[in-house]
């Protein structure tokens, strides 16, 4: 669901203008324009190498765009360091999870609570208590005393999410949280994500699992070779020939067009 401003138009939480990123000769991102509306779940798909993670890196401050601007809640965050962006209320997970291995699960999440958007108001004890709440919601409380190094992959993925949630973000970027999960785990993850959204957090979800993206997204954006090639209603977007061609190749796309059916 999308929150609306007073006069019925949706509030823009994040706006990316003409974002380009070059690595030497390679253009990883080319002139991406994107608006993220408060309250929505924006699904982001695209073949490998399309630039999805690069985009998230540029927005979250891990990297800087070669050109373009990013506005978050009206503030220009293009050149802001990542810790400051985090404190403003923008959090992300990493595709290859980054747990703090020698800390317990609880302390991992507590760190997010201590240094995130509401961190300044919390003591370490309060942060740890809040961490336990989050672990409860996520379903990791039974492992709270274990070191992160001991966790299985699905649990590590949930820990990654918990850490980000502990930062009290308004906007959360999820980068392929479902990679490596089985069907049941995917269903649970989808429910979890919907729950997070219902609690008021806007989501930007990169995913390869089509079923999941289709199931949770309000809107979908498709990236290909660093460009945005489609944007809009999920069902409409994936039937667009450009999108089919990007994923499945030209021959298959022609076949789809010929049959006027989606594969």
């Amino acid at each position: 669901m999308v929150a609306s401003g007073g006069n019925g138009t949706a509030e823009v939480l994040l706006e990316a203008r003409q974002i380009s990123k070059r690595f030497g000769g390679l253009a990883a991102l080319q002139g991406i324009d994107l608006k993220i509306f408060r309250g929505e779940i924006l699904g982001v798909i695209g073949p490998n190498g399309a630039g999805k993670t690069t985009f998230v890196n540029c927005i979250s401050g891990l990297d800087k765009p070669t050109s373009g601007e990013i506005l978050f809640k009206g503030v220009d965050i293009t050149k802001m360091p990542s810790y400051a962006i985090g404190r403003l209320g923008l959090a992300r997970t990493f595709q290859v999870v980054k747990p703090l291995k020698q800390l317990t699960v609880r302390d991992n999440v507590a760190v997010g609570a201590m240094f995130g958007a509401k961190g300044a108001t919390r003591t370490t004890a309060q942060a740890r208590a809040y961490a336990e709440e989050i672990l409860e919601r996520i379903g990791l409380q039974h492992r709270k005393g274990h070191k992160a190094a001991e966790l299985t992959l699905p649990d590590l993925k949930r820990l990654e999410l918990a850490k980000a949630l502990a930062m009290n973000p308004e906007l959360l970027f999820l980068d392929e949280v479902m990679a490596g999960l089985n069907q049941t785990e995917i269903e649970r993850a989808m429910e979890l994500i919907r729950g997070v959204n219902r609690s008021g957090i806007t989501l930007f979800v990169i995913e390869h699992v089509m079923k999941a993206i289709m199931g949770i997204s309000d809107r979908v954006v498709v990236l290909h070779f660093g460009k945005k090639i489609a944007e809009g209603n999920p069902q409409e977007v994936i039937e667009k020939p450009e999108v089919v061609e990007a994923y499945l190749g030209e021959r298959f796309a022609k076949r789809v067009r010929g049959e006027r059916k989606s594969p």
Partner: protein, 333 residues
């Protein structure tokens, strides 16, 4: 990081520490002048190790040049004491610590941007460079001939001063480590990018850890300078000091509150023993000890102790393979 309520385990731990402390208080009464010297050396090493532990153990930046701060502390203390203002010892030592901290901030800002090996070697270079500067800056440091501090020879004075500083150091470490700063340091060590993403402003915090390690080293340097009376660049910027503080921390358990003190004690014990038995081959044996610990017990004695306690409590079974587990983990076949 432990719970708020005091468990029985913690009461026992606190009690044993108290007993140890009281024992340490009485050492000068029951030990000869010579043995007292050894105890003092242990305490000074513990002080340096505690400082190193903050930047190397908790924050994960293996600094290899902290002897630079030791020397800065020594020279500052000495020069102030013999200057026309004849600054008394403790204020002079304090100034040494401040100066060392400032130098650490100035050096730390560029150097802490480096990672791993690069950082280590850069800090090694800092120590060497500082030694050279002390050697050549004749007008201030009297170059390689060195300076002489006012004489004071009661062993007890040095012992109790060192003891007080070590106790303060333990308290300071405990407070820091349990605060948000401590969590931030560990986060930086475990994964700096993740730490930044979580809202931690890593640069000032790293520099702070580095500066604090400099303070500890400088205090140790000032004390040693007063005790030794004669201060030269060759003696006070020795790489050996850096090695000792690192090894002491590793032996005891880096990233723990008591590890450095424990490790310093063990190291001093070994070192004294080895000295009396193998004077000429002393470094060889120490080298072997380092190698042994690195291969078989890299997490230090504190972790061996906690693992051992688990066995005693029946939470874990004792297996010989346990000792080799670390070796297997890091091998390449």
């Amino acid at each position: 990081m432990p719970e708020r309520k005091l468990s029985r385990r913690q009461v026992i731990a606190a009690a044993s520490i108290l007993v140890l402390l009281v024992a340490l208080l009485f050492v000068p009464k029951f030990r000869s002048e010579y043995e007292l010297l050894n105890y003092t050396r242990f305490l000074i090493l513990a002080l340096m190790a505690q400082g190193w532990n903050l930047i190397g153990g908790y924050t994960g930046y293996a600094a290899f040049g902290n002897v630079a701060f030791f020397g800065i502390g020594a020279y500052t203390t000495g020069l102030l004491m013999i200057s026309k203002w004849a600054v008394p010892f403790f204020p002079a030592m304090f100034c040494g610590a401040i100066l060392a901290a400032l130098v650490a901030v100035v050096i730390g800002l560029p150097v802490l941007r480096l990672k791993g090996h690069y950082f280590a070697i850069a800090t090694l270079g800092v120590a060497e460079a500082t030694r050279e500067i002390a050697d050549t800056w004749d007008s201030v440091t009297q170059g390689s001939t060195g300076i002489d501090l006012p004489v004071r020879s009661e062993g007890e004075f040095f012992y109790y001063s060192a003891l007080a500083l070590v106790v303060l150091g333990v308290i300071a470490t405990a407070l820091l480590v349990r605060s948000k700063l401590g969590y931030a340091w560990v986060a930086i060590r475990e994964d700096q990018d993740a730490a930044r993403m979580l809202g931690i402003n890593t640069t000032p915090l790293k520099v702070l850890a580095f500066a604090l390690s400099a303070v500890f080293a400088a205090l140790a340097g000032g004390l040693t300078a007063y005790q030794n009376i004669h201060v030269t660049p060759g003696d006070f910027f020795k790489l050996e000091y850096t090695l000792q503080m690192i090894i002491a921390t590793i032996i005891g358990g880096s990233g723990t509150i008591f590890g450095p003190v424990l490790g310093a004690g063990v190291y001093q014990l070994l070192s004294t023993y080895v000295w009396t038995k193998f004077i000429e081959l002393h470094p060889t044996v120490l080298g072997l000890i380092i190698i042994f610990f690195i291969i078989f017990a890299p997490r230090g004695l504190m972790s061996l102790v906690s693992e051992g306690l688990k066995v005693v409590r029946g939470q874990k079974r004792f297996r010989w393979q346990g000792l080799l587990a670390n070796v297997r983990a890091h091998r390449v076949t």
